[in-house]
């Protein structure tokens, strides 16, 4: 009976919602309706109005923020002082402490708080238990280093401004103007970034709610006294509470948004601030047609069937933006976890109307606003994208060096139905000689959506399943989400409640919402005690049926709450330390991901392994914890095309271990689409095929001729190039360089390449790929950024000359070029999994450029432990010049180096392929490899196909120094 009541009330609700939707939507996309537009988000609307007002007044606009010079002090690379905000015509002010820190790394940080809130001198409405301060702990989640202040920075001050010289060789400058408040950041005396140039800085100071008298009083007092507040004329409607989609946010702290404008003078391109489904270069958000109507939004959300080319929010957010112009990249990182929006406009500099083209410069003007928290912005002055990304990574951490298996192929589906089903797919992949490393289980493996359990009927023997997978070094990834089923007798939820580790609602009770399991609670991973508890749940003896080859997938951690506002939690929910959910929302996903990462480090005492945890929601810093994917995409060509811009954007924003669901999550892909998607997926740093529960099965062996062999080729291509991919991951793990790299990143001076986001370089290998993302393509145009020689990867056809070249791309072919001058490490022997390739010999592909020389790099380690931190790895450069190929050690010796090298002694190089081999080699039959001779075979140029040579079995070990003389 009880269930019936629930059902019927749920039904009523559904019907009402449906009816409402029907009434108010003019037939456009349904999906938008669950999510706010700027107009529906109070502070967004207010800040845009503020900007409009300022813009309309032009030079007459007086920004009400100024620094009081007497408040300023300079100490230890920090400039501290107070900004006064004038809040009414009477000249009343509020005090906003500001700190500008100049860091040893060359980055600068501007932090602005509000004194009253900081000191707790405010009153909260509704007897709220929330903290009074502005949220100031984002740093403790996002930042892991790089905060050392500069010892060499110097400050000079006069009555109107303060000038700080800092950065490498003192080349950077911050010019802080007092009234109105503003900062210009300069490099080599040229202004790169301007804060508050447009005077849009805005901080909603605390104020008590003044209840206006009711318009109609009983006594008939007709003119109700006007409230004597300065904000007359301001729209208060969104200050005290906001309702959206039937949910009302109580806003106990009143309005508290923060905003500032950031201008990049002379920069026409801005990139970053993922996650959005759109182009790599960000578009304007406030101008005429062809642009976005709304600002880019960052408010992590489970967006159902997201649409293309849109600034609307998605599952994760990294508020880090890069601005790029010819030979210069700079960046800003807005450290704030609340809902935020970013307006972007571009303006041609007006003062030089006669100069066309080259002379005229474009400024990109951005406007950032968050609902709550601090203004806390890091400024990076480059001058290269690599330096900006590196500096950002010093703060938020670099990509975790992943388990090697995790960069191989993942076979996923919602759902593999039984343990036998999993074993069957495993056998069939082997049988069809299709390599894969990981098979995945979505939510249906659990007993009634209770995580840490297995469905006793469908998965009676998880151990047997894991054992079979382990035989060919394959792994299982199982999903574990943050919603914990609210059901009597479920030990996890009982502990969660007993230990009080869940998120609370605004009244301080355990929050209850709906997700996959129905009624659920959410573990609050902001709480150190919750993390500790979470860690305990993953021990092999606690999570029965788990084993060392089981890894974890964290989904729905935005968090997704089916019945919550915008499919997430109410903003007035309370987290550990009584921070409102509003303050921490965008970090929430990362805290859960972090807890799982911590848990996976050591599941058995002494067995410390690199975790692999996939997350859907993320924030700045999530790159330290695992991989992300672009969420629930669709089996359509436009979604295939959207993958690379999204992954590239994530990559330059410090989180390169990214991928899109191969095949498209929703819907059934046509066979050619699926095939093209595998060819594209072979270039995703995170490479996983996935499918919705209502789709047809699409494991690669089911697709049939000629598709299955073509897909297998793409998969084997990925596997052959794993040494190169792993080396690229290593590079990302030490300096944050993206794994797949957009053109502007590699060729910062080539303006023709700045907009490119459908072709890219793989690591430092010189591999230039442009996988086909359109239907029925027979060829693609690839843009060559320089006049180096490029060779088709598969047949060595030569392409030269800067500009576009047409490369054939029938269904079976991936447009992939090798840039001259590189050496690419490969392993060509197909095996069942990457783990079984460990002992296979390498093939080195030496791609000779115009100069006749080439270089390359290789990083190898055990691929699963942290022994590399003690030197258990091989890191080498290969250099070919003047007829000599040399392998040199570039690693740093550690405690475990010798031991590791010993185990790798038998792993050698089986062949060298030299592409663009000189004619003089035509008669050559052998080369000198160490003390021995190795055979050489030369193949002359044929038409457009380059000459090449192969050196057979040079018998040199991969971990040793050697020379091969040609």
């Amino acid at each position: 009976m009880r269930s019936f009541t629930t059902l019927s009330s749920k039904w009523t609700a559904l019907l009402i919602i449906a009816a409402l939707c029907y009434l108010f939507t003019p037939a456009v996309s349904v999906k938008h309706e669950n999510f706010k537009t700027c107009d529906q988000s109070g502070f967004c609307k207010r800040n845009r109005q503020y900007a409009d007002k300022a813009t309309a007044l032009g030079s007459q606009w007086e920004a009400p923020y100024r620094i009081t010079p007497e408040s300023l002090s300079w100490k230890n690379g920090q400039l501290q002082g107070t900004i006064l905000k004038t809040i009414n015509k009477q000249g009343e002010t509020v005090r906003l402490p500001i700190t500008i820190s100049f860091l040893e790394s060359g980055s600068a940080r501007v932090t602005i708080d509000e004194e009253k809130r900081q000191k707790g001198e405010i009153e909260l409405r509704h007897d709220s238990k929330a903290r009074k301060e502005r949220y100031n702990e984002a740093q403790s989640w996002a930042i892991v280093g790089g905060l050392d202040v500069s010892k060499s920075a110097t400050e000079e001050r006069d009555a109107s401004r303060s000038i700080v010289k800092y950065g490498p060789e003192g080349k950077f400058q911050a010019v802080v103007t007092f009234a109105p408040f503003g900062i210009d950041f300069k490099r080599d005396d040229i202004t790169q970034i301007k804060f508050n140039d447009r005077g849009l800085a805005n901080l909603d100071h605390w104020r008590p709610k003044v209840d206006k008298p009711e318009p109609e009083k009983k006594e008939g007092e007709d003119a109700p006294a006007e409230t004597p507040v300065a904000e007359t004329g301001e729209d208060e409607s969104t200050w005290w509470d906001e309702t959206f989609g039937g949910n009302t946010d109580s806003k106990a702290k009143g309005p508290e948004s923060v905003a500032i404008d950031i201008t990049f003078p002379g920069y026409e391109h801005v990139f970053g601030i993922p996650e959005h489904a759109g182009s790599l270069p960000l578009k304007e958000t406030r101008q005429s047609s062809g642009n976005h109507q709304d600002p880019y939004r960052l408010y992590n959300a489970d967006v159902f069937e997201y649409i293309m080319d849109s600034p609307m929010t998605l599952y994760g957010s990294i508020p880090f933006m890069q601005a790029h112009k010819k030979d210069s990249t700079v960046g800003v990182f807005w450290l704030n976890a609340a809902e935020m929006w970013i307006d972007v406009i571009k303006e041609k500099e007006a003062h030089n109307p006669l100069s066309l083209g080259i002379g005229s410069k474009t400024d990109t003007k951005t406007h950032w606003f968050s609902e709550s928290g601090l203004i806390d912005v890091f400024v990076f002055l480059g001058p290269t994208a690599k330096e900006v990304t590196k500096a950002y990574g010093e703060l938020t951490g670099y990509t975790q060096l992943p388990q090697e298996f995790s960069i191989a192929y993942h076979q996923c589906r919602w759902n593999y139905n039984t343990d036998e089903d999993v074993k069957d797919v495993d056998r069939k992949m082997s049988k069809h000689q299709i390599p894969y490393d990981v098979i995945w289980l979505d939510i249906e493996y659990t007993d009634d959506k209770q995580y840490f359990t297995w469905d006793p009927l469908q998965f009676p023997n998880p151990t047997g399943m894991l054992e079979q997978l382990d035989q060919s070094e394959r792994k299982l990834v199982a999903i574990i989400d943050p919603h914990i089923k609210n059901k009597d007798g479920y030990h996890i939820v009982e502990e969660l409640k007993k230990k009080d580790l869940a998120v609370h609602n605004k009244d301080g009770n355990i929050y209850e919402g709906w997700c996959w399991p129905g009624s659920s609670h959410w573990v609050d991973c902001f709480n150190p005690a919750a993390i500790k508890w979470w860690i305990s749940l993953f021990k092999y003896d606690a999570f029965k049926g788990s084993a060392s080859n089981l890894f974890i997938w964290n989904d729905m951690n935005e968090p997704s709450v089916f019945n919550g506002p915008e499919t997430t939690m109410p903003k007035d929910n309370l987290h550990h330390g009584n921070w409102e959910h509003r303050d921490v929302h965008n970090i929430n996903g990362m805290t859960f991901h972090n807890a799982t990462y911590q848990a996976m480090l050591e599941r058995k005492k002494g067995e410390i392994r690199r975790p692999f945890v996939l997350t859907r929601s993320f924030y700045a810093g999530s790159q330290r914890l695992g991989a992300m994917w672009t969420g629930d995409n669709q089996a359509s060509w436009d979604h295939l095309a959207a993958g690379f811009p999204m992954i590239l954007n994530n990559g330059i924003a410090g989180f390169p271990f990214a991928g899109a669901d191969v095949g498209g999550f929703f819907g059934n892909p046509e066979k050619d689409l699926l095939t093209r998607w595998y060819q594209a997926g072979a270039f995703y740093p995170f490479f996983r095929g996935h499918a919705h529960i209502d789709t047809r099965r699409r494991e690669p062996y089911l697709i049939g001729e000629p598709y299955t062999p073509i897909i297998t080729q793409a998969l084997r291509l990925r596997y052959a190039l794993l040494p190169a991919w792993y080396t690229a991951f290593h590079e990302a793990s030490v300096d944050g360089t993206p794994i797949i790299r957009p053109h502007y990143f590699v060729y910062p001076g080539d303006e023709a390449g700045f907009d490119l986001d459908d072709q890219f370089f793989v690591g430092s290998t010189g591999l230039l790929a442009k996988p086909v993302v359109t239907e029925k393509a027979e060829s693609v145009d690839i843009y060559l950024p320089d006049d180096e020689i490029y060779y088709d990867y598969f047949d060595y056809e030569k392409y030269t000359g800067q500009g576009k070249v047409t490369v054939p791309a029938p269904l079976e072919k991936i447009p992939l070029l090798m840039q001259g001058g590189h050496i690419i490490p490969r392993k060509d022997r197909p095996r069942r999994s990457s783990g079984l390739m460990k002992w296979d010999p390498y093939t080195l592909v030496i791609v000779l450029g115009k100069s006749g020389s080439a270089t390359g790099e290789l990083y190898v380690d055990d691929g699963e432990t942290f022994d590399y931190q003690q030197g258990a790895y091989i890191h080498r450069t290969f250099e070919f010049s003047n007829g000599v190929l040399e392998s040199k050690d570039i690693g740093t010796k550690g405690k475990l180096t010798d031991k590791y090298l010993k185990t790798m002694k038998s792993v050698g190089v089986e062949k060298l392929i030299i592409i663009g081999a000189p004619k003089e080699w035509a008669e050559k039959t052998s080369v000198k490899a160490g003390r021995e001779e190795a055979r050489l075979e030369y193949y002359a140029e044929e038409g457009k196909k380059a000459a090449w040579a192969v050196v057979k079995a040079p018998k040199v070990a991969i971990g040793e120094n050697w020379k091969i003389e040609f």
């Binding site: 019907l15 159902f304 039984t418 069957d424 022997r829 079995a953």
Partner: protein, 559 residues
């Protein structure tokens, strides 16, 4: 299964070539030994133009475009149409000369293991019980020879398989016998029925003639109707009028209610249509999904009929009667007319007696004629029929019905005889019997030549997974378990079950029942290959080969 077939295949070669074994390079089977005999030179097997020194055999570098120089290593594995094409691998269509790495498996049966399994650090005992696939011991891998125990176990199971195969073959013969008996039974029944029907048809024909005679005779006898008095009609008209008025009012009320309900249905349909458009299937809420599905079915079955005509009629009817519209009651409540029959009889009365008889006869004949031609209403039906006619008709109809029934049975039996029951009519013996299997969340049931069903253990009724439609064939490539269960490789008989219960967001359920020979009827495995498209792997003696005993390797090799 592949393994077993390979084993069988191999066993035929082994005899007699044993002598060459010792000199063969690693990984070469006796079948290919001859290519490796020359101590001075090696010629690539399918590329005779390429010659190598014997030291290049198994030197971990692939020299031959057909991979034949590396029978014992994984060096040539990249030569594959499944690998990315490269100039170095030559033409993409190269076929490899060797079927795999040859494991001698002394004490068991020799076998090929794919070259890509060689020296990868995994002891592939299933294929290579002697562990020789890991001869290099990469990363410290050690695979001891387990052929003795594996061979013993295999032999034990093989004996069981043999035994099972024999039982299966026997059982099959029994089934064939039963099927033949059943068929014979049907044939006998048909013969009997045909005789009976002939007999009955004759009888029916006689009775029909008799009945028609009696009826013809009786029909002419016109019974004078009781005749309605005018006053009664008037009374009736009055009553009818009141009643009609009452009904009319009720009708108007009902129409009003109907219109209101129609409006509400439309409104609800609107809500549901929107709901269907806008709900989030990703939430996978079964309740919502079911609701959407029911709505879809409802919407699909809803006929958009044009009710305007009906409405016009209703409107017409609803109007009050008057002289110009509906019934002119006034006319009925006053008038008193004679019926045509009365007039006719009155006319007769004025004629002289002899003429009267003649005319009467003629009129009766005419009347019969008119009735028979459908011109005049048959009075007999409205009035009471004479017992003689009733009896005659009953007698005829009983026999005639009996003929019909028997003919239907005969047709069924004849159809059944022509219907396909598989080879040797064997499923005739199984028809109507069922097997079931407990598998995870569901219990599955297969009824031969009837239907397939599933039943969730979590509750709910049976779900039809399809009804038998036809026999078919399919090619499979599956494992055979150690217990002999599994489809194996090759062409297998299929029973197709289609048009089961409709699936949410999918097709009607269907089941492909793939059969392989087994000792007894048993569902081995049920998989949902695609959404709501099931495959059942089923063992049954009915699927055993006619002559051969069964699939398993019957010839064992004692190496």
């Amino acid at each position: 299964m592949r393994r077993i077939e390979t084993l069988v295949l191999l066993s035929t070669f082994t005899t007699g070539i044993l002598a060459a074994e010792s000199s063969r390079p690693r990984g070469v089977s006796p079948e290919f030994a001859k290519f490796y005999k020359d101590p001075n030179v090696f010629t690539c097997i399918s590329n005779p133009s390429i010659t190598l020194t014997p030291s290049q055999i198994n030197d971990e570098y692939c020299d031959c475009p057909d991979g034949s120089d590396e029978p014992g290593t994984a060096a040539c594995t990249y030569l594959s149409a499944l690998s990315p094409p490269q100039p170095i691998s030559g033409t993409p269509n190269t076929t490899l000369a060797l079927p795999g790495y040859y494991c001698k498996n002394k004490g068991h049966i020799p076998s090929y293991v794919p070259h890509s399994y060689v020296n990868d650090g995994v002891c592939d005992y299933e294929l290579c019980c002697d562990g020789s696939d890991e001869w290099a011991g990469v990363g410290g891998t050690k695979c001891e020879d387990r052929c003795k125990e594996i061979g013993r176990e295999w032999k034990r199971l093989d004996d069981l398989r043999q035994k099972a195969a024999r039982t299966a073959a026997k059982r099959r013969m029994e089934l064939v016998g039963e099927a033949q008996a059943l068929r014979a039974g049907v044939e006998i029944k048909i013969g009997r029925l045909e005789t009976e029907i002939r007999e009955l048809e004759r009888k029916a024909a006689d009775l029909k003639i008799r009945y028609e005679e009696v009826e013809r005779r009786e029909r002419g006898r016109v019974v004078k109707s009781a005749g309605g008095k005018g006053s009664k009609v008037t009374v009736l008209a009055g009553l009818a009028r009141a009643r009609v008025e009452e009904l009319r009012e009720a009708l108007v009320g009902v129409v009003g209610k109907r219109d209101a309900l129609r409006k509400r249905v439309k409104e609800l349909e609107g809500i549901l249509a929107t709901f269907k458009e806008e709900y989030n299937p990703n939430f996978n809420d079964e309740g919502v999904k079911r609701a959407v599905k029911s709505w879809e079915d409802y919407a699909a079955n809803k006929k958009e009929e044009d009710v305007s005509a009906e409405d016009r009629d209703l409107e017409e009817i609803s109007k009050p009667d008057s002289e110009s519209e509906g019934i002119n009651w006034a006319e009925w409540e006053t008038g008193d007319e004679e019926s045509d029959v009365d007039a006719l009889y009155k006319f007769e009365e004025y004629l002289p007696a002899p003429v009267r008889t003649w005319v009467h006869q003629k009129l009766t004949d005419l009347r019969i004629l008119l009735i028979e031609n459908g011109i005049l209403a048959d009075n007999a039906n409205s009035g009471s029929e004479s017992k003689a006619v009733t009896d005659a008709r009953n007698a005829y109809q009983t026999v005639n019905d009996d003929v019909g029934i028997k003919q239907t049975s005969l047709g069924d039996l004849k159809n059944d005889l022509e219907k396909e029951y598989g080879p040797d009519d064997i499923f005739r013996a199984l028809k109507g019997t069922c097997v079931s299997k407990d598998s995870g969340e569901y219990e599955y049931e297969l009824c031969w030549m009837d239907q397939t069903k599933q039943k969730s253990k979590k509750g709910g009724g049976h779900t039809g997974m399809g009804n038998f439609v036809r026999f078919d064939k399919t090619t499979v490539d599956e494992e055979i378990g150690a217990d002999g269960k599994g489809l194996g490789s090759g062409e297998r008989m299929v029973l197709m079950y289609e048009n089961g219960q409709h699936c949410w967001n999918g097709p009607n359920r269907q089941t492909t029942v793939v059969l392989a020979c087994a000792e007894k009827d048993e569902i081995w495995k049920v998989v949902e290959q695609e959404k709501c498209m099931y495959r059942m792997d089923v063992g049954t003696p009915a699927a055993c080969d006619k002559e051969k005993k069964s699939g398993g390797g019957e010839k064992k090799d004692e190496l």
